[in-house]
Subunit: 395 residues, 2 copies
C-alpha cells in the first residue's frame, strides 16, 4: 500500500527496458481530477534536467501526473538532457490528454546517462493502460535502482488518507540525494499549504538521513493532494491541520527508517541524538559529524564501542560547548562522561556497550550541556559491502 | 636522515613498553644549546593534554626538547591526563637538566588511554643515554603507530640545513589529525619568524592532506631552529629568506607525499587540483569535497573513471560557479566538458581514463571558469583494507 492508498490516484509500473536486468523501470502516478502539489529538491548545482523541469512546473502548485524512469539519471547530460525531459513529458501529456506543464518527470540511475526517449515513449500506451487504483505497489517497485526492497507507508487521518513510497540506498545525505519520495493524500489542501507541510515536516525528516554524505543530482520529494476525500479544505488554522501534519509525519518517518535500513552495504543503522546544543542547527552539525565520520562508521561495522571515535567526531564539529560538560551514551551505557572516557566504561561496561552495538539500530546519545538545541540523524555503518557495491559499480 | 640532519640536534628512540608489539615507542629530540620553536596544532575541541601543554609552552618561542610517546594518545583523559603530561615532562627536564617549560611533549595512539607514567620515566635514563647526532632515524621510527614505513626528508639551503620526519596514516584531514610532524633547521631564525614560516609554509602544506576527513585530537607540527649553522639571523627581509622558505617547503612537501602514500588501506592517492574558483578558499572547498567523497574514493579504489561522481561532488560544494563552465580531467583525459559528461569520453576515451586511474597517484584537475582561485588536495582511496583496519582496530 503506497501512493494509491488515498482516493483520487491511480498508478502503474512497467518494464520499458531501461535496466539491463529486465526489472520494472517506468512508473506513473496520476491524479485524474488533478492535484495540488509541492516539492523539495536537491541543492546540487548539477541538478538533473527533470529536477529543473519539476521546479519550474511546481510554481503554480498543480500536478496531474508524476512519471519516473529508473536506470538513467538524466543528470550531467547538458542541453540534450533538457530536451529529453521536455519531449518525453510532452508525449506523456498527449497520452493522458493532460496539460504538459502538469506532468512532473523524475529520473534516477546512472549520472551522465541519457533517457532512452524512444523506448520510453513506446512504453507509454502500456503504462497508461496499466493505471489502477491498486497500482501503488507496482509504482513503488518500478522506481527502485540498487534498492533491495520497496519502501512504502500509509496513515489515516480524520476522514482522509496519506500514502507514500520512496527509493534510494546510496548518494544520500542531508541536502537530499538519489532519493525519490512521493507522498500523496486525499485531504483537500491548497498548494500553498502543501508547501508549508513540505517545509515543516518532509524537508526536516528527509534531511535527517545520511548514508554516504554524498548529495545527489536527482533528489526529489513530492507531496500531492487529490482532495478526493472531500470536505472542507484543511488549512494551517483548521482543527484537522495537526492531524494531517501527524499523518504526513508518520508516513515520512516510516519511509525514512525504511531507507536507512536498506542503505548500501548496511549492517547497522546509527541513530544519533544530540541534545544540549546552543541551537538546533549546532546539534545538527554535531549529529551529522558523528553519523558521517568514517571512523565511527567503521567502528559501528566492527561493533567496536570505541569512545575515542565519538570524542574525535564531536570535538571537530567546531560548535560551542565546554569539553568537560560532554556526555555520550551508547545504548544505555555512558562511554564519555565529563568530556573524558568514562572510567566505569573502561572497568566494567565495555561488554554492555558492545551488546548495544549488536542491534540493527544503534542509539548514540550526546549531551553537550550548552543549551536546549537538539537534533536527530540516521546514518549507516561502513562495511566491506559498501566498498564492494561502490567500487564495482559500472559507470 | 631526518630531524638530526641540521647541526645542533641529537635524537633517540627506544622501547619503553607502551606498544604490545614491542616496537620502539618513545622518542626524544634535543637541541643541546636550545632552539627557537613554533608549532601548529589540531583545532579539535578535545585536544590532547600534551597538545595543550605544548601550546602554552610555545608562547615564548623556545624549546630544548621534544618527547613523543606512541601507543597512548593521552586525549579524553581529563585532569588525570593533564597531570600525566606535566609530571612526565618535568621528570624529563630533570634528566636533561633543562627547564621544564622548554620540554614539548607529544602523544599518539589510542584516544582515552593514559600514558604509563612509571614506564615512561623509567625509560628516560636509557633514552637520554641513547641521544646521538645520528639518532634521526631512530626518532622517526619510534613515533610511528599504524604507519608501515618511516617518513623522513631533508633539504639544504645557503649555508644551512633543514630536516624533518612525520607519522600518521589515519584520522587525517585538514585541520590536522593524528599526524605528528617535526621539522628542524640549523639556520638562525628568531621564533617570531619561525611562526611566519609555520603559517606560510607548514600549515597550508599539511592542510592539503585528507585521509578520512577525521580531524584528530593530537595533530602537531613543530618547527625548531638550533641556529647552529651560524651566520646572520635569517629574517623575512633577508636575502636568504626565500631559500629557507623553499627548503622548508621541500621537506614539508616530501613528508606530505610520504604520509599520503602510507595512508590506511591506500591503493591509490588522489591528487586533486582545482583552478578557476572565485577564491583560493572556494577552490579548497571543492578540492576537499572531491577528495573526501566516499563515492569518488570507492571509484578510485575500483579504478572506475566514473565522471558522475566528480560531477556530484563538485555540484554539492555550494561555491559559486556556472555548471556549464566546468571541465574535469582525469590524467589527460577530459571526462566532463561544459558541465556535462564529455561525449568523446563516452565514445573513445574511457580506456585512457581507466589507465590514468591505474597510477599510484591519480591526478584529477577541475577548472571552474569563475576566477583565479586555486587549491590542491591529496586524498586516498577507500578500500577493503581501510574498512578492515578501522573495523578491527581495538579500542
Amino acid at each position: 500500500v503506497s501512493v494509491t492508498y488515498p482516493k483520487g490516484f491511480r498508478a502503474a509500473g512497467v518494464t520499458a527496458g531501461f535496466k539491463p536486468s529486465g526489472r520494472p523501470d517506468l512508473a506513473l502516478l496520476v491524479a485524474d481530477d488533478g492535484a495540488t502539489a509541492a516539492g523539495v529538491f536537491t541543492t546540487n548545482a548539477f541538478a538533473a534536467a527533470p529536477v529543473r523541469l519539476c521546479r519550474e512546473r511546481l510554481v503554480d502548485g498543480r500536478a496531474r501526473a508524476v512519471v519516473v524512469n529508473s536506470g538513467q539519471a538524466n543528470a550531467g547530460t547538458g542541453p540534450d538532457g533538457e530536451d529529453d525531459a521536455y519531449v518525453t513529458s510532452a508525449a506523456l501529456a498527449r497520452a493522458l490528454d493532460a496539460p504538459a506543464e502538469e506532468i512532473l518527470p523524475c529520473s534516477t540511475g546512472v549520472i551522465g546517462a541519457r533517457i532512452p526517449v524512444q523506448k520510453m515513449t513506446a512504453a507509454f500506451p502500456e503504462l497508461v493502460e496499466a493505471l489502477s487504483p491498486a497500482g501503488g505497489n507496482a509504482f513503488a517497485e518500478a522506481i527502485l535502482t540498487t534498492d533491495t526492497v520497496t519502501k512504502m507507508a500509509y496513515a489515516e487521518g480524520d476522514g482522509f488518507r496519506v500514502g507514500g513510497c520512496a527509493k534510494g540506498v546510496g548518494m544520500i545525505r542531508p541536502d537530499l540525494a538519489t532519493m525519490l519520495t512521493f507522498v500523496t493524500t486525499d485531504a483537500p489542501v491548497a498548494s500553498a499549504h502543501l508547501r508549508k507541510l513540505t517545509a515543516s515536516v518532509l524537508e526536516p525528516t528527509f534531511e535527517s538521513l545520511t548514508v554516504d554524505a554524498c548529495s545527489s543530482t536527482n533528489d526529489t520529494v513530492l507531496l500531492l493532494s487529490s482532495g478526493a476525500a472531500g470536505g472542507e479544505a484543511i488549512r494551517p488554522d483548521s482543527k484537522r491541520w495537526g492531524v494531517l501534519e501527524a499523518a504526513v509525519r508518520e508516513v515520512a518517518e516510516s519511509l525514512l527508517s525504511q531507507l536507512a535500513a536498506d542503505a548500501e552495504g548496511v549492517h547497522h543503522v546509527l541513530e544519533v541524538s544530540v541534545a544540549g546544543a546552543a541551537t538546533d542547527e549546532d546539534a545538527r552539525i554535531v549529529a551529522r559529524g558523528i553519523a558521517e565520520s568514517l571512523l565511527v562508521k567503521t567502528a559501528a561495522f566492527g561493533r567496536d564501542p570505541n569512545p575515542g571515535r565519538f570524542l574525535q567526531a564531536i570535538g571537530s564539529s567546531h560548535v560551542p560547548f565546554a569539553p568537560e560538560d560532554v556526555r555520550v551514551r551508547l545504548g544505555d551505557v555512558v562511554v564519555i562522561d565529563k568530556g573524558a572516557i568514562s572510567p566505569i566504561f573502561e572497568r566494567q561496561d565495555r561488554d554492555a556497550a558492545r551488546e548495544a552495538m549488536d542491534a540493527e539500530v544503534v542509539p548514540v546519545s550526546v549531551e553537550l550541556g550548552n543549551g536546549t538545541g537538539s537534533a536527530r540523524m540516521l546514518g549507516s555503518d561502513l562495511s566491506y559491502d559498501y566498498v564492494r557495491i561502490n567500487a564495482e559499480y559500472t559507470t
